[in-house]
Symmetry: C2
Subunit: 308 residues, 2 copies
Amino acid sequence: MFMKITFCCINTKPEPWLAGLRAALPQAQVELWQAGASPADYAVVWAPQQQFFDQQPQLKGIFNIGAGVDALLKLRLPPRAVVVRLEDAGMAVQMAEYVCQAVVRQFRDLETYAADVRAGQWTFYPPRQRDDFPVGVMGLGVLGARVAQALSAFEFPVNGWSRTAKALHGVRPFVGTAQFHDFLASSRVLVNLLPLTPETSNILNCDTLGRLLPGGYVINVARGAHLVDEDLLALLDSGHLAGATLDVFRTEPLPPAHPFWRHPKITITPHTSARTLRETSIAQIAGKLMALQRGESVAGLVDVGRGY
Amino acid sequence: MFMKITFCCINTKPEPWLAGLRAALPQAQVELWQAGASPADYAVVWAPQQQFFDQQPQLKGIFNIGAGVDALLKLRLPPRAVVVRLEDAGMAVQMAEYVCQAVVRQFRDLETYAADVRAGQWTFYPPRQRDDFPVGVMGLGVLGARVAQALSAFEFPVNGWSRTAKALHGVRPFVGTAQFHDFLASSRVLVNLLPLTPETSNILNCDTLGRLLPGGYVINVARGAHLVDEDLLALLDSGHLAGATLDVFRTEPLPPAHPFWRHPKITITPHTSARTLRETSIAQIAGKLMALQRGESVAGLVDVGRGY
């Protein structure tokens, strides 16, 4: 069946995506969007402007080339369009390895050893007790579940917090608002993989991070707006938190004057914890698009009201 | 049955070991060794001097509180003593997490990102292809097998090289001298977990490391004498190797003037990749000692001729 796909992704080199989508969907006409383009059936997007949707009210489906749709859902979307987000597409293993290395570096004092080596010092620190280093994972979707199970394979006690109950081998489940404080009080490391919604915005704040076990450590790989920056800094200064690894920020790139750049207890990376892998993503989009065309249901369909 | 155990471990605080061994083996008399001590049945040792064994020729068993027995086997040992090394005892998971974080930091360019952050730069690098990043693990004992399987869980292609064939899920097997060059030529990262024997001494040298795929990376967590230091430096200078993570050295502590301390492509840690965990080790020693007393076979028995 003939269909038209428009591609509108900022900060993304379009040519290899267009070539890949054309190869995967030979029956489709795939074009790079430009103002005034003719109407398309489907859109493949990353951070489009409102103007894009205003000019394409007929869209039947929108494919977001990322796992988080928080920015997309702030726009007025075409009334009949379903929104589909990438699931996994090579991101889950990246997230698992990124988070595991961050947890291991803190658990094994590898930043401290690196500082000693820079100072020419050969020093030992007593090993931490693994049983005394429970890791709490917030959000148990495709990415969070993979992260939780990778941590469990390294024999860390793992707590998982989710809106609805999820049974994962090796992960102690905490569900909903009622068990949130218990979850926090049972965790020394907090890994955030929640979707960003009005309910989860600012969820990493003075009250919640203050409930972590002493010497807590925060790993934010979801969205910058989950974290109240000043609250993290205050809890690091007070010593309640030992450190943080942050991959996402309220403003990206992180502004040059922001204190996170040079804070001795904070490790930052430039939103690189799980990169969209083009080939895998194109294959996933093509598969889901053809399923939608056949009238079948697809995974990764966004519940716009819920926000993810 | 009454028995006497002598404890002779350098660089080890003896009191908690003595208390732990006494609690685990209440039928035994456990004493800290001193010159002229009365004869014991079993010894628990780490890096003892020749004098120790010369004064204890009656020993029936020697428990080494580490996985490597290369230093021990250089001594003249009591003629009837079996040598038992620690197996795992909490070391395998430590080795797996240490090696995985080293591999992930190289695969994900995290050292480069850290340098950019120190320079105040928000930069992206194209993701490497996982299929193009095969990791070769040398030595598939308890530690090597755990490391290989942890890497496989992160979806790296994993090659395993061992003296005798080992079947491990997700690990491509290479066996013996005949397949050593194929193993090297199929690996971009090389992880050394071999026992140190006359056959494996200097095994990481210009010829072997030169056979790795270009941009190779070396992780040595076994013994410093496996590696020819100058050969590593030459291959880093030539650009054939991209870097190395080293936890073990020919002389430890690493001498202050050694070039490894400040080499920009080398990450070092002070022999801390897998620490002996006292409680787990005591439980393992107690269990094996009682099995030996009952005349049963135990795992971790060292073949003195083979060297491990």
